[in-house]
């Protein structure tokens, strides 16, 4: 750990696989005790960044430091300071819950007594006591993930990397996870987590959005919401699919997306009447048009659409040249 309190630093971190650039010049700085949320569609490079930071993958460009150690040259020191929970199932299916924890504790060099103590704590904290003698293979996914999280934090690492820990997990386990993560950060643990859900992203101190291998945004959830460009309307009209087409063609409308049984329409200026009359002129039954505050999801969608448009534009220019 260095004087600035940064525990994860990346400068122009890049990873290529042949011709394909999975991660393209990512800069990251995460402070001690922070929860850093990593957002982005599948294939945007989130997991690749995490794998590089954990020393599972070598960067092909740029540098990274975790807990003050270089991820390329000092991967072993990095490993001593992190806990990693993979997206993939990474426990021994044929061992019981307790045996898995004993194994991972042993691998991290916990002493026998300390290990026994920690296992009890973790089992208790993750409400796994009643299942500790069950074979891991027999557990439902939510419980398996609890064991995996338990294994990752058994040795009390200062930094936890969690790659989609809650995907496919039941709400009860999800709630338990976040309570535990909040307690850990209160104790100074830094958490680096990838997620697909917006309410999880809202719980992070800082959110980085990945798209096409690039970090296209990196800020607090609040400031990200504030960065929304334009005015957002919630519009209910029927038929919905026609309404989507009509809304997109209206002047002053930047974009329109479906959101449940309604549309979220982004307009350049605040002119709700113009939007309503525009939709009605298209022969639609308009039930409601009201301005709403953008959620993180709206920001996320906008960021990605803009970024995608930018990439297409860049591609066109390249072709034109």
């Amino acid at each position: 750990m260095n004087a600035s309190g940064l525990v994860v630093e990346a400068e122009a971190l890049t990873r290529r696989f042949g011709d394909f650039t999975a991660v393209d010049g990512v800069d990251l700085h995460v402070e001690r005790g922070a929860v850093f949320g990593f957002l982005g569609p599948s294939g945007s490079g989130k997991t690749t960044v995490i794998r590089m930071l954990c020393g599972l993958l070598r960067p092909t460009g740029g540098t990274g430091r975790v807990a003050g150690f270089d991820i390329g040259r000092e991967a072993e020191r990095v490993r001593e300071n992190i806990g990693y929970m993979s997206q993939k199932f990474s426990l021994y299916a044929d061992l019981t819950v307790r045996e898995n924890l004993e194994f991972y504790g042993g691998v991290y060099g916990l002493e026998r007594e300390r290990l026994a103590e920690r296992i009890e704590e973790v089992l208790h904290r993750l409400e796994l006591e009643s299942r500790s003698h069950r074979l891991t293979a027999e557990l439902p996914l939510g419980w398996k993930q609890r064991v995996a999280l338990g294994a990752a934090l058994l040795h009390q690492p200062p930094i936890l990397f969690l790659d989609e820990p809650t995907s496919g997990v039941d709400p009860a386990s999800q709630r338990l996870f976040w309570e535990l993560l909040d307690d850990l950060t209160a104790g100074g643990t830094t958490i680096f987590i990838t997620t697909h859900t917006m309410d999880e992203a809202e719980r992070c101190g800082r959110v980085g959005v990945m798209y096409g291998g690039r970090l296209i945004a990196n800020d607090t959830p609040e400031r990200l919401r504030g960065s929304f460009a334009g005015v957002l309307y919630h519009a209910e009209a029927e038929p919905l699919l026609v309404a989507l087409e009509v809304a997109r063609s209206l002047p002053g409308v930047e974009d329109a997306v479906m959101c449940g049984s309604a549309l979220h329409v982004t307009a350049v200026r605040e002119e709700p009447e113009r939007l309503r009359s525009g939709l009605e002129a298209g022969g639609l039954r308009v039930r409601e048009v009201r301005r709403i505050a953008p959620t993180l999801e709206d920001v996320f969608v906008q960021l990605i659409l803009r970024s995608a448009a930018g990439l297409i534009e860049a591609g066109r220019e390249e072709v034109a040249e």
């Binding site: 020393g55 599972l56 426990l91 991290y108």
Partner: protein, 400 residues
Amino acid sequence: MKEFFDRLVAVAEAEVRYLTREPRTLLILLTQPLMMLVLYGYCVSFNLRHLPFAVWDQDRSETSRQFIGRLRSSGGGETFTLVGHFNDPRLAEDLLGSGTALFLLIIPPGFEERVSSGQPVRVQALFDGADPNTAGVAFGYLRDAVAAQNARLTLGGFERRASAATAAERGPAIGGVSFPTDSIQLRWRVFFNPSLDSTLFFIPGLIGVLMTFIAASMTATILVREKELGPMESLLTSPVGPAELVLGKMAPYVVVAGAIVLVTVLVAGFTFGIWPRGSALDLVSFSFLFLLGMLAMGMLISASAPSQQLALVAATFATLLPNMFLTGFAYPRSNMPEPLQWATLLMPGTHFITAIRGIFLKGVGWSVLWPQGLWMLLTTLLLLAGAIRRVGQQMQRGLE
């Protein structure tokens, strides 16, 4: 009908893609027949060549040297190979016990004198009977070679006598040509397996071959399995080092493999009545050394193979075939082309088969088999180091 072919083509196309995407599968499929052809072609031959023998020439005369020289050049110089001279009866057992020589010739003093005067002389041949087939065939060759020399001597003697008779102006009445008894008479003894029982010979070697295969295939799937099923990811982000991983994963299998050897030895003893003549300690120490190497080889395969299936195929391929064909388990190594013979010396199985046969059939131990032991130690260490290095490289690169 067209739809039938369209679907058929789609299925075939997908399979071709799969095959070309994993070239290692294809490579194994292609090399398998080639390797078998070479192995069968070179090793499976019932004509024996280059049979190693050693000589104790107690006569040290022109004639005895000539006798040895003719043996060496018989069969166009291909049949026998002289591996050395000795002059101490205590060395005899070591030479046969270590497998350096298949048979020993002892030429008695006064050989030249008796041959030139046409008197019978006994040459002793001591055979290593551990491999009864080879010993039997070798004895046949030796008998023929000696008979050829006798014929030459007889013919020479007859001509000499005939010319002497002419000079003496007619000898005794000719009552037909009398062929004198053979001058060089072969007396032979078989060591280690006097009844030339082939089961006795095969069982210890079989234990060796099975050990190779079982040990290597036990560890071959370990690391690939973890890669396929997931735990490897967590292991790679933990502070576990490659040596800890390799040795830790191997340790339980050393015990399992040891138990398998024990059971095999007991079964061989009770069902075939074949018990080791040598000491149990020798058997245990040689087996341990060998098993360790084979388990390490399995780990090496495991660290390199892309899938569990392929790992198993590779383990079978790397152990069963070469050990059956190249180690002298079924076919004498002396028969193989020389470069191949040198190559077989690199294989730990070759030395283990020699050692386990020595311990079982000849009752020899470390004092005779130390070169085999030393080589096995070296190969075991190399395989271990290789496995650790390979795993280390994989850990460095992660699971790319």
